[in-house]
């Protein structure tokens, strides 16, 4: 699913330029624990989270996650946005809660990540 479609579905506010709207997303992960993201993440995953500190961008960088959506209207710290810009990771904000975002994406056919680890 193209990111542009997700932006309108979840009514996302872009937090930086460029906005990566052509990016293709295959799976999504809703997570507030860094190590769980590190354990389970695959490529072309969109991360939905309420964590706003810069380490969430580091976690995304390590696992090749390219898009992060902050849910519940939680605006990330300026350092988080700056790091994302440096690393080429796209950040968005949704006022919707995690559950609703996940449900909407799942309903549209976005797959959940398989619970398996890469090896």
């Amino acid at each position: 699913m193209k990111l542009a479609g997700i932006i309108s579905l979840l009514q996302l506010e872009p937090l930086m330029e460029p906005d990566g709207v052509e990016f293709e997303v295959r799976t999504a992960c809703g997570c507030d624990l860094m190590s769980d993201v590190l354990a389970f993440s695959q490529e072309k995953t969109l991360l939905l989270t309420g964590l706003t500190n810069p380490q969430v961008v580091r976690t995304a960088e390590m696992t090749d996650i390219k898009v992060i959506v902050f849910v519940r209207g939680k605006r990330p710290q300026p350092e988080t946005i700056e790091l994302a810009r440096e690393k080429g990771i796209y950040l968005y904000l949704s006022k919707k809660p995690m559950f609703e975002c996940c449900g909407l994406l799942y309903d549209r056919g976005l797959n959940s990540e398989e619970i398996r680890k890469i090896k």
Partner: protein, 140 residues
């Protein structure tokens, strides 16, 4: 590619601002060396977990990375306090992190477990009051 130490960095206790810098640098170095993306990701995740463990749980330490023709060895050494129960520490979900750490999204208890899973070989040496040395090997 001959054997070479490609990275050696001090990691300070509680230095969350710089947490991940070492792993990020390593990711770039491995990419330049032509390491396959999926193997790069495994090594990077192992290093990030080791780096964050030093920051969160230790009195400070160092990470060094050695590359040989057939493997990458990541070594993390710290100045204490040591791991009281290694078997327990390796269990998914077990963590000694405090609330402040958990509020940052860490302390899920997956760190050592992730390191173990993504490595091909793992050695943990620890002594209470002295420190811990972890050596993780990923085959190329």
């Amino acid at each position: 590619m001959k054997e070479q130490m490609i990275l050696k960095r001090r990691i300070e206790k509680g230095d969350f601002n710089r947490g991940g810098e070492t792993s990020s640098k390593l990711k770039g170095l491995l990419r330049k060396l032509g390491v396959e993306a999926i193997i790069n990701r495994r090594i990077t995740i192992v290093t990030y977990e080791l780096e964050m463990n030093i920051i969160i749980h230790s009195n400070g330490g160092e990470i060094s990375v050695l590359v040989t023709p057939d493997k990458v060895k990541v070594m993390a050494e710290d100045r204490g306090p040591g791991i009281e129960d290694i078997e327990r520490a390796l269990q998914p979900g077990y963590s000694t992190a405090d609330d402040e750490i958990r509020n940052m999204g860490f302390g899920a208890g997956m760190g050592l477990n992730n390191i173990e899973h993504y490595s091909d070989d793992l050695e943990i040496e620890t002594e209470m009051g002295k420190g811990t040395r972890i050596t993780a090997v990923v085959n190329l």
